[in-house]
């Protein structure tokens, strides 16, 4: 066959192929061998949005048009008089010239240099210190290392020594550094909005507490789950000094049902230790364990470890997800069943019965299952003792049934352990419900609120607020503005966790310490110190912890024979483990009753209220980094929205940004592939009204619809009334189609069985492209280093931690909803999400994309001012002070990773986020330039970290070790999906991964020679 024949052949093929598939390839450029493989390869189509699936060509034209429009729209256009004329241009030009000449003719300002009077021994100006500490809030625990530069905490890293989070963090933990510099924090103690001193509070409040106690009244200390052993101790002490006082723990996103079930089955008010790394089969009923459920960082570490293939492993965990709303966990599942939430109990019961039938246990009759579970039961049974069944339901009866299944499967003691049970959620909802009723009924006299916000997250928030205002004594310990604090008489602000001491016991026998990394910025005092003072112990909380550790934990170890040594080393490491084992036996108490009280399947529309990845329970709604983090699945930021199924949208004629009402509440619509039939999903944590400048009135508060069922909170609306609001639209910051790579084949994947037969399954094109690497130019020779990065698509769950970590490290600015809509989001690393298959239940792929640092970079040779050349170490450099903003590089980058500063995002009232005030700017990394308006920026592969480690090596006169340099995205990745290293070093991990058969490069047919490689995603479908 001649070359001419091939072209003809290919052209014929392009006529035969469906249009949307032929779009993906420039068929004229494929080679003969490729052509032979084309048919099989083209079977799979990837799409980013439904529009793309339906008509990719039209979408692409529309996107291009939209993009061109947004690029020309320099100034915000409002009320139709936007746009800019030639006169505007000349005016701006003239002004800039005049301003520039005036500024240039001025003398430089005199700068002062103020040294220390007495230099602290451990601080070297210009060098960062790292302190181990711990993050704990709303049930999320993470052991962290705080980077402190010249006295300012500026970055959070994962603590590698922690057996729980193992150097991983979540997006919320990464963003928590910004909470320290939040302008909405209370500046000092207040009584009814009037400033008071701590001395005043220490006289007035104990007096009021005593009066209540002596009159036989009732005071409640309402907290979130407290996992600090020292704090638990001093709370007991406090309650003893004021008889009649009570302590209630309340979790807004609770695990009350699980706790109640475990109390029955095991006598433990705790949650067992799930070990996903030991499991072969995981069946999850709507438990988002990779995103928000219990301990997602830990579970992600374990889950990805059980699915790694890069080190010769030949076995993988298989993951089934049964859920209604496409969660982060569901998007990673091998097999996913979209079902209505009310059907879940029936399926769990059927699964129980199927397993019971084979193991000879008692079976129960009940509702029919919506899914055939017989093969699932067989698979679970064949992996006896190596499986996990979990449910995200907050219903005690459902959890009793799940426990029974795990018992039948012999998982207790194998994959579900009681040795080090999880303690991060201990709130029992019925206690809070009772308290709520008591407050309304006037049966309460005093309320001390710490770390929770019931006025916001209880359904009857407004009534509750009014009732709290009438209490004899109400004290809030809130760190920052919140709705409940607003209703309280006293606001006694607590310091940020980065400013305070603490000890934590997230799991039984696993302890961790938190230490202050900065002196308190405001006039705050730790709650523990207040409670100690009010119960008559004059002691700081730091000293109290030390005394507790000396008496309780020092004796539990034998490594150090002096308490001071033990304390200092533990503080340095941040974590302390004592061997713990528990002999806990299972009793099937209540199972036969529970199966009769399971939630019944409903016929109407059900609304799922889920916890969002970014905002959680909404406590940190004023954090602009979290608000701007696109949802991992929907890719929407700055709002919550109603996810509706594709079929429903078609039936009702809805499109994205249409408006519907759910039980009277107006919500914008987002059509979510994979959303189960007759269900709608809306995120919790939005709609704060008193959170601060950034967080107020963003989205709608769905906690108003959280009801109660079987004694625990029900995150679901049954039989919801849904109506379409005709012709109404609500703009959403939807970025799923932004930065599109024009439908080229980006994700490569295969299934485990194919992979085992042929390691390059799904990646056949790579070898083909490698053969065609030929160039007329001289190949670049790297003399010392050649930095590269490998991303394992099998380990990336799409959680978004890297985006925030990068944002904190590289001073990436927040631009707000409108600019995100204008496709100008500044994140240097974006996690692309691709769908494939049936829109009703698609297969999902996540792919982080940052600058690929091509050795043959298209952006470099179009820059007219040489602002983006290649470095001797293979980095694609960006010199901001040289860039004149032509944006040629952006247009020529096939990966769409370059970002343009359309505006001055720092010190600009139009962008009133953290970079617009001195407090918020304290978070900036002094080692990275803050970019100004008019320049292009992009991922630098954390060059400041490379330089820092190179300097260390040079000072030590040694070579750089493999793995010594870690980029920000890599360091805290909970899935260990990112590897960075030196490609020049043949022994390095990155070099080995680049030789892996699964490795490929994005758009490698363009011969851009990227320094970033991707390992194909291998699924484990049956």
């Amino acid at each position: 066959m001649t070359a001419c024949d091939v072209i003809i052949e290919i052209e014929q093929l392009s006529l035969v192929l469906p249009e949307k598939q032929s779009q993906k390839y420039n068929l004229r450029s494929v080679t003969l061998t490729e052509y032979t493989k084309l048919n099989t390869f083209l079977m799979k189509t990837y799409w980013r949005s439904l529009e793309e699936l339906q008509d990719p060509k039209a979408l692409r034209i529309q996107e291009a048009r939209e993009e061109a429009k947004q690029k020309s729209l320099l100034y915000k256009s409002e009320g139709g008089n936007g746009g800019n004329s030639r006169r505007d241009f000349l005016r701006t030009l003239g002004f800039s010239l005049a301003a520039a000449s005036i500024v240039a003719s001025c003398k430089r300002p005199v700068e002062k240099a103020i040294p220390y009077l007495v230099k602290p021994e451990d601080i070297t100006p210009g060098k960062a210190n790292y302190y181990a500490s711990s993050y704990y809030d709303a049930g999320d625990y993470c052991s962290v290392v705080i980077k402190v530069r010249d006295g300012r905490p500026i970055k959070i890293e994962g603590n590698e020594l922690s057996p729980i989070s193992q150097s991983g963090t979540s997006a919320r933990v990464q963003a928590s550094i910004l909470n320290l510099y939040d302008g909405a924090r209370y500046k000092g103690p207040e009584n009814l909005s009037k400033k008071i001193t701590w001395g005043d509070a220490d006289i007035e409040i104990p007096k009021a507490l005593k009066e209540i106690s002596e009159a036989g009244g009732r005071t409640v200390l309402l907290t979130q789950t407290v996992i600090s052993p020292s704090t638990r101790k001093l709370i007991q002490q406090f309650m003893e000094s004021y008889p009649g006082s009570e302590w209630i723990q309340y979790d807004a996103n609770s695990s009350s049902g699980m706790l109640a079930a475990n109390m029955r089955n095991f006598g433990q008010r705790a949650i067992p230790d799930y070990r996903f790394d030991k499991a072969k089969v995981v069946v999850s009923f709507a438990a988002d364990f990779l995103g928000t459920w219990l301990s997602p960082v830990e579970y992600t570490k374990q889950y990805t470890a059980a699915r790694k293939l890069d080190d010769g492993q030949r076995d993988m965990l298989r993951h089934y997800q049964i859920e209604s709303h496409l969660s982060l966990t569901g998007s990673n599942a091998d097999v996913r069943f979209p079902v209505k939430p009310s059907e879940e109990a029936g399926i769990i019961l059927a699964l129980y019965n199927a397993i019971a039938a084979k193991t000879g246990a008692e079976q129960f009759s009940g509702a029919e299952s919506a899914v055939d579970v017989s093969s699932l039961a067989d698979e679970l049974l064949s992996a006896k003792g190596k499986s996990i069944v979990i449910s995200g339901s907050n219903d005690e009866n459902v959890q009793l049934l799940v426990n029974a299944i795990n018992k039948l499967l012999g998982n207790y003691g194998q994959t579900v352990l009681w040795d080090s049970a999880l303690l991060t959620r201990q709130g029992l909802d019925r206690e809070m419900t009772q308290l709520n009723a008591d407050i309304l009924a006037g049966k309460l006299d005093g309320l001390l609120v710490w770390g929770v916000n019931p006025v916001y997250d209880q359904a009857n928030g407004q009534e509750l607020e009014a009732a709290i205002r009438k209490l004899k004594l109400s004290v809030s310990f809130a760190e920052r503005k919140d709705e409940t604090a607003r209703a309280c008489q006293y606001i006694l602000p607590e310091p940020n966790y980065l400013e305070s001491w603490n000890d934590l016991e997230p799991k039984m026998g696993l302890y961790s310490l938190a230490q202050p990394t900065i002196a308190p910025l405001f006039d705050s005092r730790s709650v523990q110190e207040s409670l100690l003072t009010w119960s008559g112990t004059a002691m700081t909380y730091g000293d109290f912890i030390k005394s507790v550790w000396e008496s309780d934990y020092y004796s539990k170890q034998s490594d150090y024979n002096d308490f001071r040594l033990f304390w200092n080393y533990t503080l340095q490491k941040g974590v302390f483990e004592t061997p713990s084992s528990a002999d806990i036996s299972y009793s099937d108490e209540g199972l036969s009753v529970a199966v009769t009280k399971l939630p019944e399947s409903q016929s109407g529309t059900e609304v799922v209220l889920y916890e969002s990845i970014a905002l959680g329970n909404g406590k940190y709604a004023n954090n602009p980094w979290l608000q701007e983090l696109p949802d991992p699945i929907a890719k929407i930021s700055w709002d919550n929205y109603a996810s509706v199924p594709v079929a429903y949208a078609e039936e009702k004629g809805l499109v994205n940004e249409s408006v519907i009402t759910v039980n009277g509440l107006e919500l914008p619509v987002f059509i979510q592939p994979g959303q189960a039939k007759d269900t709608i999903a809306v995120a919790l944590g939005y709609g704060r009204v008193y959170a601060g400048k950034v967080g107020d009135e963003v989205g709608k508060n769905m906690y108003a619809y959280v009801s109660e069922e079987n004694g625990s909170r029900k995150y679901r609306i049954d039989n919801a009334t849904v109506e379409v609001v005709a012709e109404a639209t609500f703009p959403l910051a939807l970025s799923q189609t932004h930065h599109s790579m024009e439908g080229r084949p980006i994700v490569r994947e295969s299934n485990l069985d194919e992979y085992l037969l042929k390691p390059d399954a799904g990646n056949e094109l790579h070898e083909e492209h490698e053969k065609h690497h030929a160039t007329l130019y001289k190949e670049i020779e790297f003399k010392g280093h050649h930095w590269g990065m490998a991303i394992d698509l099998n380990s990336c769950t799409g959680c978004g931690n890297c985006a925030i970590s990068c944002q904190a490290e590289n001073n990436v600015q927040v631009i707000g909803k409108e600019q995100v809509r204008n496709r100008r989001i500044m994140h240097w690393i974006r996690v692309d999400r691709y769908y494939s298959g049936d829109p009703a239940n698609p297969t999902v792929s996540h792919q982080p994309v940052m600058c690929q640092h091509c050795d043959n970079a298209p952006c470099e040779n179009v820059c007219p001012v040489a602002a983006t050349p290649h470095s001797a170490e293979g980095l694609n450099q960006m010199a901001y002070n040289r860039c004149v903003g032509t944006k040629y590089c952006i247009n020529n980058c096939p990966y769409r990773v370059r970002r343009f500063n359309w505006f001055q995002y720092v010190n600009n009232d139009k962008f009133d986020y953290n970079a617009n005030n001195d407090l918020g700017r304290m978070v900036l990394n002094p080692d990275v330039t803050v970019r100004s308006r008019g320049v292009v920026e992009k991922c630098s592969m954390c060059v400041q970290r490379i330089q820092e480690k190179k300097q260390e090596a040079k000072l030590g006169g040694r070579m750089i070790e493999d793995g010594e340099i870690k980029t920000a995205c890599q360091q805290s990745c909970p899935g260990n999906a990112i590897v960075f290293g030196d490609l020049k070093n043949p022994e390095s991990k990155i070099s080995k991964l680049f030789k892996d058969k699964r490795n490929y490069h994005l758009l490698e047919e363009l011969h851009t020679l990227p320094s970033v490689g991707y390992l194909t995603k291998v699924r484990n479908k049956a």
Binding site: Y116, L117, G126, N881, K954, R958
Partner: protein
């Protein structure tokens, strides 16, 4: 009434007293002191060389809150050895001395006189501008001069001069080579590093390990000055400022000399700790400077040139073993030396990120 207004009091002193005090200070009203006056030693305006004696302003501030007796004592019966010698023989009446104190008190209150900027260069520039105008008018309209070459030469010469001035000034924009501002303490590197031979890195001790060389903390000064309370040149006045700062916890606000732009990341550790460069290579003969001044222009061209010329410690430092091929070339003699540029020191992202 008119008289009263003229003799009105300012902060307890009359205008006349202040005026009279100023005349004494400046030597217009002489008093008996070896033909000298106060201003001979205590300068009123900033100078570009180091005057060891405290300036009028520094004295004014120091004695503003103190009574006349202590002021008088410091002049007539000083404690320090140096002051005893130089003030010996001062003979000024008490009433006259009070006017001097009044003058100084007033100075402390209103601040020093602003320095008039020199406008010579601007005048010359404008003069040449006028020459250009004249030459053009002559060439086009007047045509009085027979030899047309004369206005042409004037025109070209003037344009040339202006072009030179403009380009020089433009290059210098934002640079401050030779910048030597007055510092709050008359600290002399010549005395410390030159005459007493103290190693640079004794005070700037983080230069080898951190990107910042570090301005020594006041407690480091006190290592020596806890004993040395009087200098040969400056007497007690300057050293007392250190003690004062430490005792009253008032940090000293030095005027920063070397201001790199914010988008430049420079590390002392690499240059001092790894490349083992002498401090003088960039900072000039610091050991000869009484008043510290910026030696180099700190331009990018200056950085880049040095990187082109300077050898890397290629064999000595184990880090460079990563550059295996270059080592081989060195072994066989293909490569004589490795300059900083050869290993990427002039890449953008070495300094700009």
């Amino acid at each position: 009434m008119f008289a009263e207004e003229q003799h009105g009091l300012i902060d307890g002193h009359s205008h006349d007293d202040i005026k009279r005090g100023e005349r004494f200070f400046k030597g217009l009203l002489p008093f008996n002191f070896k033909g000298q006056s106060c201003v001979s030693c205590h300068n009123l305006v900033a100078t570009d060389t180091l005057n060891w004696n405290p300036s009028a302003m520094a004295i004014a501030i120091k004695y503003a809150d103190r009574d006349f007796e202590s002021f008088k004592a410091s002049i007539e019966e000083p404690v320090g050895n140096k002051l005893t010698v130089v003030h010996a023989g001062i003979n000024i009446g008490e009433e006259d001395l009070k006017t001097v104190k009044a003058y100084l008190d007033n100075m402390a209150m209103v601040g020093p006189k602003p320095i008039k900027p020199s406008i010579n260069n601007l005048l010359i520039f404008l003069f040449f501008g006028m020459l250009i105008t004249w030459a053009l008018l002559e060439l086009i309209f007047f045509r009085r001069i027979k030899y047309r070459i004369i206005p042409v030469i004037v025109l070209l010469g003037s344009l040339g001069y202006q072009g030179k001035v403009i380009s020089e000034e433009a290059i210098k924009l934002g640079r401050s080579q030779g910048y030597a501002p007055d510092q709050p303490i008359k600290f002399s590197h010549k005395v410390h590093a030159g005459e007493n031979g103290i190693d640079c890195k004794y005070c700037h001790h983080t230069a080898e390990s951190s990107k910042s060389a570090g301005i020594p903390a006041m407690n480091l000064c006190m290592n020596c000055h806890v004993l040395i309370r009087e200098g040969t040149n400056s007497g007690k006045f300057e050293i007392a400022k250190i003690v004062n700062a430490v005792e009253n916890k008032e940090p000293v606000e030095w005027v920063r000399l070397h201001n790199l732009p914010d988008h430049v990341f420079f590390s002392h550790a690499i240059h001092v700790g790894v490349a083992k460069l002498d401090c003088q290579k960039c900072h000039g003969p610091v050991e000869e400077m009484n008043l510290m001044r910026q030696n180099a222009d700190l331009s990018m061209g200056w950085c880049v040139n040095c990187h082109r010329e300077t050898d890397v410690k290629f064999k000595e430092n184990g880090y460079y073993e990563s550059f295996a091929k270059m080592h081989e070339e060195m072994e066989i003699g293909d490569l004589a030396s490795v300059k900083a540029e050869d290993i990427g020191a002039n890449d953008c992202m070495r300094c700009h990120y």
